[in-house]
Chain length 305, copies 4
Amino acid sequence: MEKFLNEVITRNRKYTKKGKVASYIPVLAHVNPTNLGVGIYTLDNQYFSAGDTNEKFSIQSVGKVFSLICALRDSGFKKFLTKVDVEPSGDKYNSLIKLETMDLHRPFNPFINAGAIATIGLISGNSIDERFDKVLSLMKEMTNNPNLDYNKEIFESEMNSGDTNRAIAYYLKGANIIEGNVDHILETYIKVCSIEATVEDMAKAAAVIANNGIKPWDNTPIIKSKTIKTARALMTTSGLYDGSGSFSVKVGIPAKSGVGGCIFGSVPNRLGIVTYGPALNEKGNSYAGLKVMEAISKEYDLSIF
Amino acid sequence: MEKFLNEVITRNRKYTKKGKVASYIPVLAHVNPTNLGVGIYTLDNQYFSAGDTNEKFSIQSVGKVFSLICALRDSGFKKFLTKVDVEPSGDKYNSLIKLETMDLHRPFNPFINAGAIATIGLISGNSIDERFDKVLSLMKEMTNNPNLDYNKEIFESEMNSGDTNRAIAYYLKGANIIEGNVDHILETYIKVCSIEATVEDMAKAAAVIANNGIKPWDNTPIIKSKTIKTARALMTTSGLYDGSGSFSVKVGIPAKSGVGGCIFGSVPNRLGIVTYGPALNEKGNSYAGLKVMEAISKEYDLSIF
Amino acid sequence: MEKFLNEVITRNRKYTKKGKVASYIPVLAHVNPTNLGVGIYTLDNQYFSAGDTNEKFSIQSVGKVFSLICALRDSGFKKFLTKVDVEPSGDKYNSLIKLETMDLHRPFNPFINAGAIATIGLISGNSIDERFDKVLSLMKEMTNNPNLDYNKEIFESEMNSGDTNRAIAYYLKGANIIEGNVDHILETYIKVCSIEATVEDMAKAAAVIANNGIKPWDNTPIIKSKTIKTARALMTTSGLYDGSGSFSVKVGIPAKSGVGGCIFGSVPNRLGIVTYGPALNEKGNSYAGLKVMEAISKEYDLSIF
Amino acid sequence: MEKFLNEVITRNRKYTKKGKVASYIPVLAHVNPTNLGVGIYTLDNQYFSAGDTNEKFSIQSVGKVFSLICALRDSGFKKFLTKVDVEPSGDKYNSLIKLETMDLHRPFNPFINAGAIATIGLISGNSIDERFDKVLSLMKEMTNNPNLDYNKEIFESEMNSGDTNRAIAYYLKGANIIEGNVDHILETYIKVCSIEATVEDMAKAAAVIANNGIKPWDNTPIIKSKTIKTARALMTTSGLYDGSGSFSVKVGIPAKSGVGGCIFGSVPNRLGIVTYGPALNEKGNSYAGLKVMEAISKEYDLSIF
């Protein structure tokens, strides 16, 4: 398999030049735009990789998957639904339009920024640290990496440049979607975005989701099967923002992307597959990562459709 | 299996009273709102059913699946994408907003009305009859029912009441998304909506989609596998309008609904499953049908997620 | 005064090159884009003009003022308000968005296309000719020109290219804002747009509005004072589409523009002032006409503010 | 004149029961909803009043007129236009939609909340106090009341409940419409809203605007005539939010309303007219105040149209 992965990386590296690294977060603007890597972790505990997989990257919006799992654990699906809907929005990831036009002012889903901020509010915990520690602990378990942490420089850069997210958070406060201290919720949200990981870390975490919440390396169940199904459905309908439909047609893998350049995919009962390529298309998804995902999905028939 | 299906119908019939039959099409307003039925056609050619399955109903928006298949056949995916996108819209099925706000004025997907009308325009054929015959012929094959036809009374009723669809069609003409005679395209669109079928007919057609385009009763391939994957992906992300995300989470079956009361589901490599219940929720999906789908999906673990 | 007008035309002719003639109506695309003229008709029956005032032009949206007067005559303000609101919309002249998002689906005002089409529906009359004749007769009186008529070539060109207006009309039908035959209403609407006049014709009509509904040349009252006030208020808040606010600040004259290149202004109790310059800015208003209006308003202190 | 004013107040007091006092600001919820008063200050320095004119009220959005004057003074119209447009928006006063959809993310006008916050940003001054003092000083001059001040209780109540305004401010920061410290700008904005005045104070200020920027009691010019024309035009097209068009038709006086219950009108070259009635209609304008304005405008022919 690694031979094929290497070929795919080589063949698609040219697409890294068609994208642009996220520039609205100053620190992210300094990453190498030609980076491209892929890792696959199978449920029989094999790991295959190719390309630039030694790089650490900030997970950004991929963190929304882990926040969602924590929120569903703490609040249950029913309460969750009173604050965040589970529908694709058809709008940009940072749009405020539907918050205003919809009767309940509920974010459409937990993977647009508004929904992810509201999701953080559904993780129980009185302090920033308590909520953040829950997400980080879950990720440490899912990546089998006890040293996982957030990057302070990225965190601070995003805290200073996150005006639109701050606008969203205050709007949600005004609409009673989030309660309590807006700054705390926002700080937790950005801390989760700033968690750094490698392709291998993320491929393992994706494998846990592919394996219905059971860590494949020690067969320990850590997430309820129902929660996993919810996460995989949302990754499919909303995981790549307003590019989710096209990704379902072309790739067909439940996945979540982040502006750090990661695409994080879970093929149910088969494997976790993760790409890293920080040059993004105009929808905020990794340009070359999409091409790599598409090629591998076709070769190994990974589409769930 | 039929015992369980009967139980499910009995248990959920109360929900038929929570919905309302579509009233904007006068003829549809006269159907019996308490009707509820389900049919399952497995890939080893068994058929199970329960409830009111003798009724014929107009397929309405379920017809969009068959139009899509014909359009992809005739125009190819690449040309299709220049006229219709494949993203969930987050808006009502008859919304015009995104047509106006998006740069290309392209409908978001082939299952909202705007997209379905544009899809009809991509079926080659110079006359109304030629285009309509292609869709009807495909359906006759997929249902294994050579007598399938449209209902003239419903057709005429919809022709007289379809002002919003006419508005959409002219808007698309003005934006160069459809070409040629608007009235012809619209007439074909409404004729497809007016096709009448039974639960069993539709369960067989759903089984063909579940079986990757191969008729299970005679193993004849009639639709390309790639087209089937596109259809199933779109059914998942956009098949139930602005209720598609919730359906993915709760049921997890690629499906398409129609305001005639049908929900048409295809579980890849397993079975076709179709419910009929004309009382609709506020999003235009069968109220009790959703409940029946959810119960059966849970019992037999049909979710693709 | 004519000396000043000539200077203003000379000084501002360069701006005709910054605009573009309306191209979506094929016939309009052939007019001379460098035309620029102005005419002023005072309430003591003096007429001053400068520039290209011999040209006939189609009045296009300026006709909406005369339709409004006829509709208010026939239906009264109270009934009018049930179908058309009197608020500036903040949107493009041909937008459908607010029709869909507002509870009553009422067009925001009679000067956007949707509102003007609904306004035609409020003129009583069973045939196209009856309604159109009312508007044309009113205009003949107001221009003191019994030979005024519509241009058949322009009318037919617009009938063939008016898909977006047709979309709007059907949408209004579906929302019960207009009743009866959509094609008839649309044909009347376009016929009014196709009426041809000169700067002098229109300056006289503007003077009647400036003179509270009384023809200044024979002191005959032909329009109720209350109707005139309504028209002048709407011209101010909505007469130049989404450029009305800026026009109020810079010019301050109740006015209505048309994509034929006319700006039609009425200074209460003083004069009618009309410019003609078919090269338009991106909002559909005459580029150089705006400059001419602004210069004259400043020189003679014509702003009502 | 006072006899007529008393009659009008008596006749229209019943409408105070049709409105509701603003409840989103807790302190405002405690005012007496049946209050209704009117004051007229003529340019020959006569003052007429009727009804509840001893009450002090917070000026709320009426303060936007004074902020606008200060911003135009400090930044000039040209720079102002780069940050705030002068078009009616057609949307609610606290809407964020057009900020997101418009290319420049510029608020549509200085009288919706977004525009007013951006306007504060255009008043030069490094501290909250410096900017606020400019607005308060201007108001002291215009009201001829050196004791005018803001109400600390209202200010604090609004600071604690202004989440949507905070959202707007951060959105504007993210879009580079405002610069510097968001909290400072917001605090200034809310302090201006919290300024308390009586009907007589405000009638005098309105008279200064009616008198082209010259205080009628001592003939001192304090505001440029061009600034006054801009203010009066904006009051007309946008002063009553999405009720401005209807107000122009029915009343025809350049005016600005506030959720504290004030309507502040300036009839050019004639008088200032101010009503106070805290029970609001669904658009945020004083229910009975509108009726009183309409009656007086008709009686004395105050409409500028």
